[in-house]
């Protein structure tokens, strides 16, 4: 099956602001899937709610636009049911770090073979610009005329503290590098966290592409967590690339002893089963 980027396009009108980072993120995502020769019907996207979630009708594939904060657990359920499919959770900094931060933490430690794209535009944009834990300190935002009161969450630092198997950081203004990062994330057999520094021209004007681009430093992939930590702790610069990858950690499904050697997926196993052996076992 020959696959072209147009296979991933839809006829739905774009509703993102001019200059929104989502345009490039979608281009990179589509290009990555085409490069990996994935047909849209082989891909499941679990979209969160927010500007990123509004991308659910702008890309082909089996897409679910579910609940705010819950893109990750839905994606995991889908993956376990049929691991032959490529499963991608698409979520913003609001949904990922606020409403559903527990899911991110436990998904990293469980290491499901799922890729998560965190669109980090440093605010809740779809509800017209509220602060998130990645909003720049002191910035005045909706209903916070004196600026953000709370501290920040450094996504990289959080992820690296959890013994992840894959953490990468991309930049929406660099779709070429982002394409490569997403490809690596999808290829990685484990939970791939990809944070994307996303331009928001409406609610995060301070961080324009000029400002952000000057801080970008591209790095090579490492399996040395100390080096990776140095990258994420240096907040003056933005290090992009596959920041950390550990191929030694087995993914969740591979650890399931009762699924060893099974040639079928759960979705292929729905039928009536005899239970007499189980009934006798629990007597």
């Amino acid at each position: 099956m020959k696959i072209d980027i147009s296979d991933y396009n839809t006829i739905i009108k774009n509703t993102w602001c001019p200059g929104c980072g989502n345009f490039n993120i979608h281009i990179a995502l589509k290009k990555a899937l085409v490069d990996l020769k994935k047909h849209p019907s082989e891909v499941v996207f679990s979209f969160d709610i927010g500007c990123n979630g509004n991308g659910g009708d702008k890309i082909e594939g089996f897409r679910v636009k579910g609940l705010h904060g819950r893109a990750i657990p839905f994606a995991i359920g889908a993956h376990l049911a049929n691991k032959e499919m490529t499963v991608i959770a698409d979520i913003g900094d609001g949904g990922c770090l606020h409403e559903g931060i527990d899911h991110l933490i436990h998904a990293i430690r469980s290491n499901y073979n799922v890729t998560v794209l965190i669109h980090n535009n440093q605010n809740f944009a779809l509800t017209t610009g509220q602060i998130t834990s990645t909003t720049q300190s002191g910035k005045k935002m909706y209903a916070f005329p004196d600026g953000k009161t709370e501290g920040d969450i450094n996504i990289g630092e959080l992820v690296l503290a959890l013994n992840p198997s894959f953490y990468a950081k991309g930049y929406s203004a660099d779709a070429i590098q982002l394409t490569e990062i997403i490809k690596e994330g999808i290829k990685h057999k484990g939970f791939s966290v990809i944070e994307i520094v996303q331009i928001c021209p409406t609610y995060n004007r301070e961080n324009s592409s000029e400002v952000l681009s000057s801080r970008i430093r591209k790095v090579q992939s490492t399996n040395n967590i100390d080096i990776a930590r140095k990258y994420v702790l240096d907040t003056k610069h933005i290090y992009t690339g596959v920041i950390y990858q550990n191929k030694e950690i087995k993914d969740y499904y591979s650890n399931l002893k009762n699924r060893k050697g099974k040639k079928t997926e759960l979705v292929e196993e729905v039928k009536n089963y005899g239970i007499s052996n189980i009934l006798n076992k629990i007597q």
């Binding site: 009708d57 636009k65 609940l67 819950r70 657990p73 359920g77 049911a81 052996n277 007597q283």
Partner: protein, 567 residues
């Protein structure tokens, strides 16, 4: 009560009375009796007071009495609390060296001619060259000796159980059993049920939760996601302990929200999956239930009810979450609520839940209760599995096609199939988000239409009893068991109308009864009467006569008999 015999073990949590009760249940069953076992225990690991009560009879029973013929206690608190549950001429065995009964209990014992026997299980265990913990087995042997039943039957259960454990001295267990038998020669108990059913040793003893797990396995469930919460937890245990044989993925999720989202993700892909919880966890799941309603992704949730709101009485029973099940989730969408009453129901209704959920693409909530989840039912066998109904098409174009019955084609995400967007935003037939007036109206109506077809397809409530009853109880869940057991004792013209398909509600039978002028009594294991409210809402009939119980305990047979006596 004449038709049955009751034995209760009392101890503190962690003393092993469940193990003793398990031996006794099986041994009684294997001796040819129908058994039913009920557990009370506190929400602690060590301490408090707990009981394991076994009722047995020569006919089918599935509820308990409040009075017991033999009480065997191995902790002082349980003896304090349970002394007054012993019947006239009953027997109390205990192993508490310097125990003195309270003034009230002493009087009660005297008035009711109860025989009290202290057994020094610790000393006897020592004599048997066994550790003090095996004193429990001495107590078990003593109880069995009172029943004058074949010793080998009980011994077989004990030996079989301990043979599976490592480092247990089986011979010492046998010596302890024997010491228990020897120690009790001087006491006689009367009133053992007479008839003994032949071949009954092949019957099974199952909790409601085990039956749910078995039903799920039989019905093709391939993944289970849950967060522990009494009384749903033991579904996790059963599916976990058998996953090697079944290949089911059993995942303990980090929260109920995660569990239900994972279940929905798996169902979306086409694997049958479900989650189970109790009231508090269910509250956390409600947003996802609404999402299932809107996205039309099938979803199955078991709601194991316990007593109270908040944390409530975590290890006790009740039926006060019907409103939660009926109203969980914002917005308007169709749903189905089912309620199990016993082990066979639990086994069948979980399969029915999957069939309805997939066919109608709606959330289905299966209600159960601690009384059903954790009590031990004695059944001959489980029925053959229900035929799997999924309502799937092999491929399609419009995922949310507007149809006459509201059910749109659903096909599974798979390589080569037409892709689609499953959207929790209001959407058009393709799943694309919309704010269009006509789209919003037609989609809302399409979804609601599904409940009309569902209501037509579900069975009517089942009536038990004579053709021309003077009183008919109407209820759902475990109330059935106590009422049916009471009907076996009291031959008045009592009927019982039992609902297991709760919503949509079939009101025809209620209307019929009302028209005939039969006296109807609503029986509910709660204070406010949510089921009566639902009946009124759906049928227009207000039932003023109610029998409610909301003390954390299920209905006992005596509760029903007492109520009838006064009518």
């Amino acid at each position: 009560m004449k038709d049955r015999f009751t034995i209760k073990f009392g101890g503190y949590s962690g003393q092993g009375i469940n193990t003793l009760g398990g031996f006794l249940s099986k041994a009684l069953k294997n001796s040819g009796y129908f058994t039913f076992a009920y557990r009370e225990y506190p929400s602690v690991i060590k301490g408090g007071y707990a009981s394991f009560q076994i009722d047995f009879a020569s006919h089918f029973i599935s509820s308990s009495t409040t009075k017991t013929k033999i009480l065997a206690c191995i902790s002082d608190e349980s003896l304090d609390k349970y002394t007054q549950t012993v019947t006239k001429d009953g027997v109390i065995l205990h192993s508490l060296k310097e125990y003195t009964f309270s003034k009230e209990n002493t009087e009660y014992i005297k008035e009711n001619s109860i025989v009290v026997k202290y057994i020094d299980t610790e000393a006897l265990a020592q004599e048997c060259n066994a550790p003090p913990i095996m004193g429990n087995i001495i107590m078990l042997g003593a109880v069995w000796s009172l029943l004058k039943l074949n010793r080998k039957v009980l011994e077989k259960e004990v030996v079989e159980y301990f043979s599976k454990k490592k480092g247990i001295d089986i011979e010492a267990e046998k010596r302890c059993l024997s010491a228990g038998y020897q120690n009790i020669k001087d006491i006689k108990v009367k009133g053992l049920p007479e008839k003994i059913k032949k071949g009954w040793e092949n019957s099974k003893i199952l909790t409601g939760n085990q039956a749910i797990a078995l039903g799920a396995i039989a019905g093709g469930c391939r993944a289970y996601f849950a967060y522990p919460m009494t009384p749903a937890t033991s579904i996790l245990e059963t599916l976990g302990d058998t996953y090697e044989e079944t290949g089911i993925i059993v995942k303990q999720a980090e929260s109920e929200i995660t569990a239900i989202q994972m279940a929905m993700g798996s169902m979306y892909m086409g694997a049958r999956a479900f989650t189970a919880t109790s009231g508090g966890g269910f509250d956390l799941m409600t947003e996802t239930i609404s999402c299932s309603g809107m996205t039309e992704i099938p979803l199955v949730i078991v709601l194991g009810q316990r007593a109270g709101s908040g944390t409530g009485v975590p290890t006790f029973s009740g039926s006060s979450d019907l409103d939660a099940a009926l109203q969980a989730g914002h917005g308007e969408f169709p749903r189905c609520v089912l309620a199990a009453s016993d082990a066979i129901d639990s086994y069948e209704l979980i399969q029915e839940a999957f069939n309805i959920s997939e066919t109608y693409q709606i959330p289905v909530i299966l209600l159960t209760e601690k009384q059903i989840s954790e009590s031990l039912f004695n059944i001959l066998e489980l029925p053959t599995p229900l035929k799997i109904q999924r309502g799937l098409t092999s491929n399609g174009i419009k995922r949310y096609l507007l149809t006459k019955d509201g059910i749109s084609p659903r096909w599974l995400p798979k390589k080569g199939k037409k892709t689609y967007l499953s959207n929790s935003d209001e959407h058009d037939e393709h799943g694309i988000s919309t704010e269009d007036i006509e789209d919003i109206k037609s989609m809302a109506q399409k979804r609601i239409r599904k409940s009309i077809k569902l209501e037509k397809s579900i069975p009517h409530p089942k009536y038990y009893g004579p053709k021309d009853p003077t009183i008919v109880f109407v209820g759902m869940g475990s109330t059935k068991n106590a009422v049916l057991d009471a009907m076996k004792v009291n031959k008045k013209r009592i009927g019982y109308l039992h609902y297991k398909y709760i919503f949509p509600l079939k009101e025809e039978k209620i209307l019929e009864l009302n028209k005939k002028g039969t006296q109807i009594v609503l029986i509910e294991n709660n204070l406010v009467g949510a089921f009566g409210k639902l009946i009124k809402e759906q049928s227009g009939i207000y039932i003023p006569n109610t029998l409610n119980k909301f003390d954390g305990r299920p209905f006992f047979v005596d509760d029903i008999l007492e109520y009838i006596k006064n009518r």
